[in-house]
Amino acid sequence: MTVPGAWYLTLAAFLFVIGAVGLLVRRNVLVMFMCVELMLNAVNLTFVTFARMLDDIGGQVIVFFVLVVAAAEVVVGLGIIVAIFRRRAGATADDISLLKG
């Protein structure tokens, strides 16, 4: 007996919200980045579930593109983090406050 798609969607909603709350709460930029990955994974799970529920391969193709964009995003984001923290020590987002008035 297969699990109904609504259960997968509920699980993905919880995963997305955990990632969003973590992004708002944590101050370490690397952990904030990991929370973004959690949210992307929740969306991927939703797409695959909809692909099954609607019997449509388009959902899985979109997940493929999300994976590519996530990989590019991580590469550029970590490059920015390395470039910032080479100049100043401290790993929290509160330390990057140059534009603060």
Binding site: M1, V3, A6, Y8, A13, F14, L15, F16, V17, I18, G19, V21, G22, L24, V25, R26, R27, N28, L30, V31, F33, M34, C35, E37, L38, N41, N44, L45, V48, T49, F50, A51, R52, M53, L54, D55, D56, I57, G58, G59, Q60, V61, V63, F64, F65, L67, V68, V69, A70, A71, E73, V74, V75, V76, L78, G79, I81, V82, F85, A91
Partner: protein
């Protein structure tokens, strides 16, 4: 059997996600992230998305998490963070409130059985399950016919990302560094 797989994977996913948010050490957060990614890959297999499950393990657990760990080690920021201090008054209650509101907004259409509001109608690309073709064949057919232009665009995106990472991570040339120190001094 399906329920057992789903429940075990769901527990792994949620435990890993909570671990990412609550662990003090970034290395532990990265390892918890691997747990979540494997759980999602298991659920991909449970929904007959075999190719995506393999790509999930290779790209996410194999490349992205290793990149995270590499940067953690490179920067030497693997010291733990004190989570008891709340830097901004009322930040955490506000974050939890936003989270509960988002969860309610996401769950309402699902609980009322109106998930089509979120998904829309089926597209014209092709079926995911009816028929006898394997999953990889269907995905490849869709990717190289209807989605060929976005597929080529992702290759351009990857090239741009590689060039951007190199530009960001390289050490500035000696002449540029002198100019930067001059501008930064006042």
């Amino acid at each position: 059997m399906d329920w057992a797989v789903f429940i075990v994977a769901a527990i792994a996913i949620l435990a890993g996600a909570v671990g990412v948010v609550t662990s003090r050490n970034p290395v532990h957060a990265a390892l918890n992230l691997v747990l979540t990614l494997f759980g999602v890959a298991v659920l991909f297999v449970a929904q007959q998305a075999h190719f995506l499950a393999v790509v999930q393990v290779i790209v996410y657990a194999g490349a992205i998490v290793v990149l995270f760990l590499f940067v953690i080690m490179l920067l030497g920021v693997d010291q733990s963070e004190n989570l008891e201090v709340e830097p901004l008054a009322g930040q955490r209650p506000a974050a939890v409130g936003i989270g509960i509101a988002a969860l309610a907004a996401l769950l309402l259409p699902i609980l009322f059985g109106k998930w089509q509001w979120l998904s829309g109608q089926a597209s014209v690309v092709g079926p995911a399950h009816t028929g006898t073709d394997p999953n990889v064949n269907r995905l490849a057919k869709a990717l190289f016919t209807r989605y060929l232009l976005p597929f080529e665009a992702t290759s351009v995106l990857l090239v741009i990302a590689v060039v951007g990472a190199v530009v960001l991570a390289r050490r500035p040339l000696s002449s540029e560094r002198r100019a930067e120190t001059v501008t930064e001094e006042p």
